[in-house]
């Protein structure tokens, strides 16, 4: 299990442009870190670098408590980007079953997720018929279906209404209380106590 994340002296370059350099922070168990910064500062790129999808120009992302970083990312990290990866033509149930099954969730996990995000009525609808907030809830459901230590979320609350911001905030609080970690790019403050890290100055 990932017991700590340490980002050291990280630099990310996209094309010709250096987004940021010399960025360092840590995430401890039970801690939420909110990445803040203007649009295009490199928050999403930083999240993708932590998830291992993007090669940083310099610096390292270390996971403490695991043998192999790639394996830890595959088994103990959830990345939910601003694109939700849901196929419009399939039902929410099919898409959730795939995403959760791919992450190793079982039937009990699916039921738990559907309850936590109140998806009951939505599951039989095609994803394209859902509103942005409903889509986001389907996307977030795999966090509950397949419990993992590190949540890496890109603007997780953006399309949600106030009620759901609060309820997802509660999910995050429960996750942190259980020793989980959260790394999120945000513009609005997170509904849980979080340490802010400024990206791209």
């Amino acid at each position: 299990m990932i017991s700590r994340i340490q980002v050291e002296d990280l630099a990310i370059r996209r094309g010709e442009r250096m987004l940021f350099e010399h960025l360092g922070f840590t995430v401890e168990p039970g801690e939420a870190v909110a990445l803040v910064g203007r649009n295009g500062a490199g928050k999403t790129s930083l999240l993708r670098a932590v998830a291992g999808l993007l090669r940083p120009a310099a610096g390292t992302v270390r996971f403490a408590g695991v043998q192999d970083a790639a394996e830890a990312r595959a088994s103990d990290l959830h990345l939910i980007g601003h694109l939700d990866g849901l196929k419009g033509g399939r039902t929410a149930r099919e898409e959730l079953a795939f995403a959760a099954g791919w992450c190793g969730a079982d039937a009990a996990g699916l039921t738990r997720a559907a309850e936590a995000l109140d998806l009951g009525r939505l599951l039989d609808l095609e994803v394209r018929k859902l509103s942005a907030g409903q889509r986001r809830r389907v996307g977030l459901a795999r966090l509950v279906a397949a419990p993992r230590t590190l949540w890496v979320l890109d603007e997780p609350l953006a399309p949600l209404d106030t009620v759901w911001r609060e309820r997802v905030g509660q999910l995050i609080a429960d996750h942190l209380a259980g020793g989980g970690m959260l790394l999120a790019a945000v513009h609005d403050p997170l509904p849980v106590p979080a340490r802010a890290v400024e990206v791209g100055g």
Partner: protein, 221 residues
Amino acid sequence: MSPLLVLLRRELALAWGRGGGPLPALAFYAGVTTLLPLAIGPEPDRLAVIAPGIAWLALALASLLSLERLFERDYEDGAMDLLALGGPALEAVCAVKALSQWLATGLPLALAAPVAALMLGAPLSLAPVILVCALVGGLAFAFVGGLGAALALGSRRGGLLIAVIVLPLFAPPVIFGGGALSQAASGLGGTSGLALLCAWAAAAVALSPVAMAAACRNALD
């Protein structure tokens, strides 16, 4: 259920859900093989000679049809992140995608190939060779085609790029299969051409997932 099995089921459902699975490729295939006699004249003797070759070539071209969406869809809607981060290696993900492409279009086309060749007047004795060539060759086309689709990720004219990348790699199996068919037609059995075709398919299945995965990683980076 194993994640790769979950993925295979989803890929097959996606292939069927939008675009009707093998139907566009089959329609194209039927179009080529039924229009051909109208274009070159209906003399049975002439048709019978070229029937196996036409059935084989049309199959190669028809397998190009639905390649563009194989990786592009997942890349554009963000599902590729999930696949790249999963437990199974990205190489295995790509192999499953190519395999699903074969199951969804290659296999139905392979079943249609002997029928089309017989309709054009090929002798019945050739049907088994045509079927085997189409099955094995279809596997090579799916994996090599998947490589083209992965390399074209993120480019604007993906379909064109796929064709340009893939056509040179389609040439050897087309030659080997065509050789097997003409050997079989002249009573030589066709095993040497078939062996070469199998070798090409085996190489494509073994090597192209590595290249597909590298191309996907590059597109995600």
